[in-house]
């Protein structure tokens, strides 16, 4: 017997999957992060399609388990999680709500990626990003480290309020 009394729909299944948070950046839901590609309901069965952020992202397995758990709590027992690689995820897939959630958590959201035609250009200079301090909004933060508490963030220090903060790197 299903624990859910009301009729279950694709919308409720989407909601249960979309509410799962990223294990490394818990201020972002999977929907905010842009990795939730599809939720399809067929009778009592739900098929959720996720896309990995990086090829080797260890968080994907946790996301899959969390999606299954969240859907089970919403009354869905028969859940399959599929992978879709194409088109590849990029930080451009983080939604405006995701950007707002990052800022609210004191994390600077990624800027738009540079798109290029032809062969990938080599970049020999230091990485330059237009980063605004998520606390005071000042520009001109200094890069402290290309790697933060998670590999996908860099650490900056605001030149104005002097607070350190994470920036989600464009990828």
């Amino acid at each position: 017997m299903s624990p859910v009394a009301s009729p279950v729909t694709t919308v409720t299944a989407w909601g249960a999957a979309a509410a799962v948070v990223d294990p490394e950046m818990p201020m972002l839901t999977l929907a905010d992060l842009g990795v939730l590609r599809e939720v399809a309901v067929d009778g009592r069965r739900v098929e959720v399609t996720l896309t990995p952020t990086y090829s080797g992202c260890p968080a994907l397995a946790t996301m899959r388990d969390d999606v299954v758990r969240s859907l089970a709590r919403a009354g869905w027992d028969d859940v399959a999680v599929r992978v879709r690689l194409d088109p590849p995820w990029s930080t451009d897939d983080i939604t405006p709500a995701g950007h707002a959630a990052l800022r609210a958590a004191g994390v600077s959201p990624p800027g738009p990626r540079t798109v290029h035609d032809g062969p990938v250009p080599l970049s020999l200079g230091p990485v330059r990003r237009a980063v605004a301090c998520p606390r005071c909004g000042a520009l001109g933060a200094a890069l402290v480290s290309e790697f933060g508490p998670t590999a996908c963030t860099a650490v900056y220090r605001c030149g104005d309020c002097l607070e350190p903060f994470e920036h989600v790197k464009e990828h």
Partner: protein, 292 residues
């Protein structure tokens, strides 16, 4: 206050280390291509496709292992994390590619002892002997010091990026998607190693000496790697740009011929591969059923 060891075992380690099926870290594997349509399209030779995926996958697996040897040993914490993350990118690419190879041509997967729960990607990684690996000698040789690590990674990532950029339009949509996913990762690997080349070359006499020596050491193995993916021209242009910025000449040494063990795509493997595999595969081979 002393904890009873048995009690500790019951509370934490039981659930964490061995699940009900007895396989360490869980009995159900995460299939990196779960739900992806793995049918080989008409007009694509599955055997050739598997061979291409194995070459790309084995290069990634072995180079990823070499980079991971820097964990906790890099010159500073930031570079330690950078090297570990590039190793992780390559491991992720290897998992996808080995899984794709096994689905395209199941005959490449070695037979495992009865009862082994290892999926095809693990069977390929841990239960093949050196002569069945299709990686290139450039990824196999020992990493040496930081100069040599940077030089080798520049050559490897430049070739791999050009190859994956080309494989984005491969007629197999799975390989094309794996390659497209790898491109931004490899762009970072190439930028990272190219910048370090310039920094080391213009640093101290000692840093320049180490970079030059490292580049000369690995250069003879570069040609077979670039030729195997047919990307020589695109690669030359990038390498000239890096060497120019570093104020370095192209090493004069020609390609190294032949190979030790035979079987590799470039005409052989190095002894270093056997030693690397002995370490990488020892646990899986000692416990093929995943129980101890």
């Amino acid at each position: 206050m002393s904890h009873d060891l048995e009690e500790l075992d019951e509370s934490v380690c039981d659930g964490l280390l061995v699940d009900s099926e007895g396989w360490a870290f869980g009995g159900s594997f995460e299939d990196p291509l779960a739900g992806v349509d793995l049918t080989v399209p008409d007009g694509v030779d599955p055997v050739a496709l598997a061979r291409t995926c194995l070459a790309l996958g084995d290069d990634a697996l072995v180079l990823g292992h070499r980079l991971s040897e820097w964990c906790s040993r890099a010159p500073d914490l930031e570079e330690d994390v950078a090297l570990a993350n590039m190793a992780l990118d390559l491991l992720g690419q290897a998992r996808l590619l080995l899984t794709r190879a096994a689905a395209a041509d199941p005959s490449v997967v070695p037979a495992l002892p009865e009862g082994s729960p290892a999926p095809a990607e693990d069977a390929l990684a841990y239960f093949r002997d050196a002569q069945d690996f299709r990686c290139h000698r450039l990824v196999e040789v020992a990493g040496g010091d930081f100069g040599r690590t940077v030089a080798r990674l520049l050559l490897c990532s430049t070739v791999r990026l050009a190859a994956c950029d080309r494989f984005r339009s491969h007629p197999d949509p799975v390989l094309a998607a794996i390659a497209a996913k790898a491109v931004p990762e490899l762009t970072y690997h190439r930028d990272w190693s190219a910048r370090w080349c310039v920094v080391l070359a213009h640093g101290t006499e000692e840093s320049r000496r180490r970079l030059v020596t490292g580049l000369e050491d690995v250069w003879p193995l570069h040609h077979e790697h670039a030729a195997a993916y047919d990307v020589g021209q695109a690669v030359d242009a990038v390498l000239d740009q890096v060497l120019g910025a570093a104020g370095l000449e192209r090493p004069a040494r020609g390609p190294r011929l032949g190979g030790g063990l035979g079987g590799g795509p470039g005409g052989g493997h190095t002894e270093a591969l056997s030693l690397l595999l002995a370490e990488m595969q020892s646990v899986a081979r000692a416990h093929p059923r995943g129980r101890w």
